[in-house]
């Protein structure tokens, strides 16, 4: 493993994975908040909000993530001048977060919405019968139960998000996949070991994540 014995290569690899973690972390939080809001819109009694939620899901769920991330760079940044930071890498990072969370929120919304369908209608009726408003019913009674029902699928979405964040490399962030490409270019004799190391680190991060969400889903399941 002479490639990773070189400290410059090792540092670049670590830095690449740190970007992946940061992209995943920030996008996961934003996508969760946005996704829940979109799901609330999609079940609301207000047609304009329902239309907005459905529009968001249909547009961003069906557009390749590469296109969305490209648009964030060339559309939002280059053309419209949206700038988050004077530091080039930071700026690309935040543009990437915008793209990833916009895209992932569509999937979170649909997962939450399917969770809402698992909550028996009697729960909402009982909530309305004691005088809770629509928003209170959703926030206090429906969404907490819907969320618990979809912990496992949300885990899958998080795992997909983590792997998807390598796409931010296409707009110039030196995340793990870009680092791997550079290392392979420079070390043609060690393509397979390099590939295995990068794949292994992803597996090391994500396999436990999957099991953790499986465990969490069982723990939080609502008994009926």
């Amino acid at each position: 493993m002479h490639v990773f014995g070189d400290s410059a290569n090792l540092d670049a690899t670590v830095a690449g994975f740190l970007w992946i973690l940061k992209l995943t972390g920030a996008s996961a939080v934003l996508a969760l908040v946005l996704g829940v809001l979109l799901a609330a819109m999609r079940v609301s009694p207000i047609p304009v909000l329902r239309l907005f939620g459905a529009g968001w899901v249909n547009i961003f769920r069906n557009t390749p993530l590469t296109l969305i991330v490209f648009f964030c760079y060339f559309g939002l940044y280059t053309t419209l001048g949206l700038t988050f930071s004077d530091d080039l890498a930071r700026n690309i990072y935040w543009l990437g977060v915008v793209g990833l969370s916009t895209y992932t929120a569509a999937f979170v919304c649909e997962a939450i919405r399917s969770g809402i369908n698992t909550v028996p209608t009697g729960q909402a009726e009982a909530a309305r019968a004691i005088g809770l408003t629509f928003a209170q019913t959703l926030r206090i009674v429906i969404l907490p139960q819907a969320g618990r029902a979809v912990v496992a699928p949300l885990g899958s979405i998080l795992i997909a998000l983590c792997k998807n964040s390598t796409i931010v490399g296409t707009i110039g962030l030196m995340e793990s996949a870009s680092v791997m490409k550079d290392l392979i270019n420079a070390n043609g004799d060690a393509v397979v070991p390099i590939f295995l190391v990068f794949a292994g680190v992803f597996a090391l991060l994500l396999v436990p994540t999957g099991y953790f969400f499986g465990w969490l889903a069982n723990r939080l399941a609502v008994k009926r």
Binding site: E125, A129, I130, G131, L132, T133, K223
Partner: protein, 259 residues
């Protein structure tokens, strides 16, 4: 609860009905489930609604707090027509307790939280005061020791009594019961009926859809017999069970009372 019972008796003497339905019609698609229904319920009165399944009695019960919107006619509660939607409707619902056939306790909250949710979120009561009142109510329906369990850990009878406590916590002006014992194992029916009977004795205004003829006989002021979306008979229980006037009621009673 003694204050409430005195209030109920006092108000029972006033003429204005608490609940009043005038010419209420409701369709489910082509099905005419409520046909020109007129009904008034005085304060402190216990009205039991019976009838064959599909006769519209549950729909009638659910229409009173607008869980089921109606197509025509008017429903007034405490002198006010039912609001169509939004906060005024939520406020009205908070004054009408509802008990469902399938309990519908909030599955992710403890029994105590189920009972305190309305008082805290709707009435903006202080959590401590609400909890204290909730524990007293749970003691009253005989499940004080179950306060910190989740609904799924309780028997059906205990869940239904918790649901009654949840409705009572809102200090409602009237209580609606939509087949409260139909989903219960036979040995648990009695404990729920006992709570309902004591409520009736305290002067609570109640509309009860049920198949429990014993409860109708001893706790009701009036029995309403419904069939095919119409109010067919409206009589005191002794009179109704002894001398049903309509063929439909005679037929219904002969079917349920011969076993």
């Amino acid at each position: 609860m003694t204050e409430r019972s005195e209030a109920g008796e006092l108000n029972g003497t006033t003429d204005q009905p608490l609940i009043r339905l005038d010419g209420v019609n409701k369709w489910f698609g082509p099905l005419h489930v409520l046909q020109d229904v007129d009904l008034s319920v005085r304060r402190g009165e216990v009205v039991v609604v019976i009838g064959p399944s599909g006769s519209g009695k549950s729909t009638l019960c659910r229409a009173i707090n607008r869980l089921e919107p109606i197509n025509s006619g008017t429903i007034t509660f405490d002198g006010q027509p039912l609001p169509a939607e939004g906060r005024p409707l939520a406020r009205l619902r908070s004054e009408v307790g509802m008990v469902f056939q399938s309990f519908n306790l909030f599955a992710h909250k403890t029994i105590l939280e189920n009972v305190t949710l309305g008082p805290i979120k709707v009435r903006k009561e202080k959590p401590d005061a609400a909890r204290q009142r909730a524990r007293a109510l749970l003691d009253r329906v005989g499940i004080g020791s179950q306060a910190d369990k989740f609904p799924a850990q309780l028997s059906g009878g205990q869940q239904q009594r918790a649901a009654i406590a949840r409705a009572l916590a809102m200090q409602p002006k009237a209580m609606l019961f939509d087949e409260p014992t139909s989903a219960l194992d036979p040995e648990m029916v009695g404990e729920v009926l006992e709570v309902m009977t004591s409520l009736a004795g305290e002067g609570m205004t109640m509309v009860v859809v049920t198949h429990e003829m014993g409860f109708a006989r001893h706790a009701a002021n009036r029995v309403i017999f419904m069939a095919d979306g119409q109010l067919v008979e409206d009589a005191p229980p002794a009179e109704f069970f002894a001398n049903p006037r309509s063929e439909r009621a005679k037929d219904f009673l002969s079917k349920i009372l011969t076993h």
